[in-house]
């Protein structure tokens, strides 16, 4: 517990937290944490959702002020007034949530708040040139004048990263920078990180993707429930060490459930074509056919832009312009609305739970019951008792950790929010459940629980289709792995596929 026990050599520490604590009312997000950032090295912070990682990073970058404890910059205590102050002192942060203005161009976003001024106002030409250089470094083909709202989520994340890079910080904090990036984009980012560290820039890296973080880290720090549980240099750690310190469990996403036979074909897609909803002259889903049987778990693997999300949303009824046939248990459903498809047993858990999954103004219980209001409506009015029972049932089924059904949805951790979205759709008693990146931004513990839930559902005869961009997640509970590339199925594997096989089929140039 003492501060000296894990205190490393301070000579090379550029930024340090000493006994930093942060409380929100009665909630102690951080309970006296020591944290060191070394010059020119990558320090990775591991921890489950709600462990206090983001809180600590926000304190180190001046976004919020600690309740107690001190921040030491270059050996001297410092109090950051706000993030601009911290940025001026050389500390900048890439937030987990994107903080871009969607209506502004990439250039304007990157220079937002620190525009380059010339004699006649903002020097747009110079800004544009700098953005082009940044994008070239990141090997990303993004025009500086494109409005951010026209970019894919992954590209928006690149813009966020570029903005932090453009400041020339000495200390750069990256909170989940890769959650929407493809493997290729991640590799480029790592190359950029290596360049930066060789120039003496210190990096703090947070990721739920442990293997990925292990590739670049020099030091690892593990947080759990607001306290630091372990600290070690790269040479002394491996995946098991991290997981042991994070959750105290073994890292296992499960295996395909067996011991039962698949039922009839639950979902059948024939020759689906979906033109790009953005109006580009190509098809995001290109003549795709797919059958899924009851009880089967199918994983769709693909990079960003492979058309996974569009396929899922088209199946759920989001788009009007798709063609092809969709059958649910032999019943044609192509003409049904979203509500109609849910009623006939097809449910979608969308990719972006903040934007498409949750109603932030409603409680946990109201979110859980949202898709099945009809089930507890008696005549004109909803039955409170029936709703309560349904909500209690859902909370138990998907094991949501909440103080109660009336808690605000924002009070839950990311993993539990995701479980609420899944629980909401499960409550409609679907025959087929589609999950678009169900593990995005949630920690291992929650990930394993989500996958176990899906496996349990499959055993009861539920057909499960989930997408992912992490190969390790394909090789877990899926009976069948489908690789998508540019709107088409490029390969199909059984559960015995290897990482290399899957990656090769996805059109990914991967060295490992």
């Amino acid at each position: 517990m003492s501060a000296t026990a894990t205190k490393p050599d301070t000579a090379e520490v550029v930024l340090a937290a000493r006994n930093v604590a942060k409380s929100y009312g009665a909630v102690h997000a951080l309970k006296g944490v020591n944290f060191d950032i070394h010059r020119g090295q990558v320090t990775t912070l591991f921890g489950e959702n709600g462990a206090g990682k983001s809180t600590l990073m926000k304190i180190l970058s001046g976004v919020i002020q600690p309740t107690s404890g001190e921040i030491i910059l270059d050996g001297k205590p410092v109090a950051f007034q706000n993030s601009t102050h911290a940025r001026d002192l050389g500390v900048s942060i890439i937030h987990q949530e994107l903080s871009l203005a969607p209506n502004l161009s990439v250039r304007d976003n990157i220079f937002m708040g620190r525009e380059i001024m010339g004699p006649t106002g903002v020097n747009f030409a110079e800004e544009e040139a700098q953005v082009r250089k940044l994008m070239a470094d990141l090997e990303e083909d993004i025009d500086p004048l494109t409005p951010v709202e026209d970019l894919r989520l992954g590209q928006q994340q690149i813009v966020e990263i570029a903005r932090a890079l453009s400041v020339d910080s000495r200390i750069l904090i990256m909170d989940e920078p890769t959650s929407a990036l493809s493997a290729t984009e991640v590799e480029v980012l790592f190359k950029v990180i290596n360049d930066l560290t060789s120039k003496g820039v210190s990096i703090v890296y947070i990721s739920h993707h442990l293997e990925e973080a292990l590739q670049i880290t020099d030091h690892a720090v593990v947080l759990r429930d607001g306290t630091m549980t372990a600290w070690a240099p790269r040479a002394e750690i491996d995946l098991n060490w991290i997981v042991r310190n994070m959750v105290g469990e073994n890292y296992n996403l499960g295996s395909p459930p067996d011991g039962y036979a698949f039922g009839q074909t639950a979902l059948s897609v024939q020759n689906m074509v979906l033109p790009d909803p953005g109006g580009n002259p190509y098809n995001v889903v290109d003549n795709l056919s797919l059958d899924v049987k009851a009880g089967e778990i199918v994983c769709i693997y693909g990079l960003m832009g492979a058309g996974r999300s569009e396929l899922m949303e088209a199946l759920a009824g989001r788009y009007r312009q798709q063609s092809g046939r969709i059958e649910l248990l032999g019943q044609e459903i192509s003409d049904l609305s979203i509500a109609g498809r849910i009623a006939s047993g097809l449910a979608l858990v969308p990719e972006d739970r903040q934007r498409d999954g949750l109603v932030q103004t409603m409680s946990v219980g109201q979110n859980l019951s949202l898709a099945s209001i009809g089930a507890f409506t008696r005549g004109l009015f909803t039955s409170r008792r029936a709703e309560k029972a349904l909500v209690a049932d859902s909370i138990k089924r998907v094991t949501v950790k909440t103080s109660g059904p009336d808690a605000a949805i924002g009070s839950l951790s990311g993993g539990n929010q995701q479980k609420v979205v899944i629980g909401k759709m499960m409550a409609t008693n679907p025959k087929v459940i589609l999950l678009d990146e169900p593990s995005r931004g949630i920690d291992i513990g929650a990930k394993a629980e989500v996958f176990r839930l899906l496996a349990d559902g499959a055993k009861q005869g539920l057909a499960v289709v989930y997408t992912t961009s992490e190969v390790s997640e394909c090789l877990s509970i899926a009976h069948r792995i489908i690789v998508m590339h540019k709107g088409r199925i490029t390969a199909e594997f059984g559960a015995d596929a290897t990482k290399e096989m899957i990656m090769a089929a996805s059109g990914e140039q991967h060295a490992a």
Partner: protein, 345 residues
Amino acid sequence: MSQTSKSAAPQGQGFSLLKLLLEGRAFFALIVIIAVFSYLSPNYFTTSNFLIMASQVAIFGLLAIGMLLVILNGGIDLSVGSILALCGVIAGAMMQGIEIKAMGVILYPPVWAVVVITVTIGALVGAVNGVLVAYLKVPAFVATLGVMYVARGVALLLTNGLTYNRLAGSAELGNTGFKWLGSERIAGIPISVLILAVCAVIAWLVLSRSAFGRWLYASGGNERAAELSGVPVKFVKVTVYTLSGALSAVAGLVLSSQLTSAGPTAGTTYELTAIAAVVIGGAALTGGRGTVLGTMLGAFVIGFLSAGLVIVGVSSYWQTVFTGAVIVLAVLMNSIQTGKGGKKA
């Protein structure tokens, strides 16, 4: 463990008192207003004055209920004042008799028919708003601004800018009773107040207990999430504007009945008063948050404040200043409240 709960207890109490004050601010504001004016004027705290004030509030209250529905959906309805006037003059025209030249007859529809036709027209105009916003993707502000002008213009065209004054009807034509809405009482309570009460109770039931209410809160809070959960978001949208139009028509009937006259310039800027009532009642203009009770309190705060200022003899110019200050204060408290709730651990 015990340490945490000890230190947390007093903090929690302080917070909940603040929270109570914030959440019940419209209620406390109303009590303060009644107390202050009762002190300033002996005529204020009397049953008859409360009933008079309440029947004035009824007009704004009806508009505010419709406005609440629209605001819960994340929209805004600027056309309510104009729909009120349009429906008022349509009712007035029907009460004075509709001459059909081709057939050489003058039609005098009975009062119940006048009411039904008027409310239907109000609902239709509201539905136009709804279709513009939901299907044609016109921003609510612009769509209802346009309809506001059009409805006002049509009201002026219908009347040539004049006011209908003969709304009483006559016994031999069988169309008496229009005054009933605005001036009669049941058990001493003005009909207009009862209509408001009935509408408020229905709205409360719909919002808190029906599937539609849940759809409305969900689509106002996050339309995309609601849609993907199977909520018919477009239907909800059209319905709230339609209901707002229908309630404006009811308000128009009550107002012209109270005044026994129907003019095309009635209800000018009433839409702003209705918005003010909803906002003072704690609803968020971004949608998804707000209650009928809050909105009713908001309507009474505005109504009792301006009536009180009249009674104590403050100039009407000052009334405008006070009303504006109350609105800003209410929104200020809204932002304090959401600021407190918006933190993330």
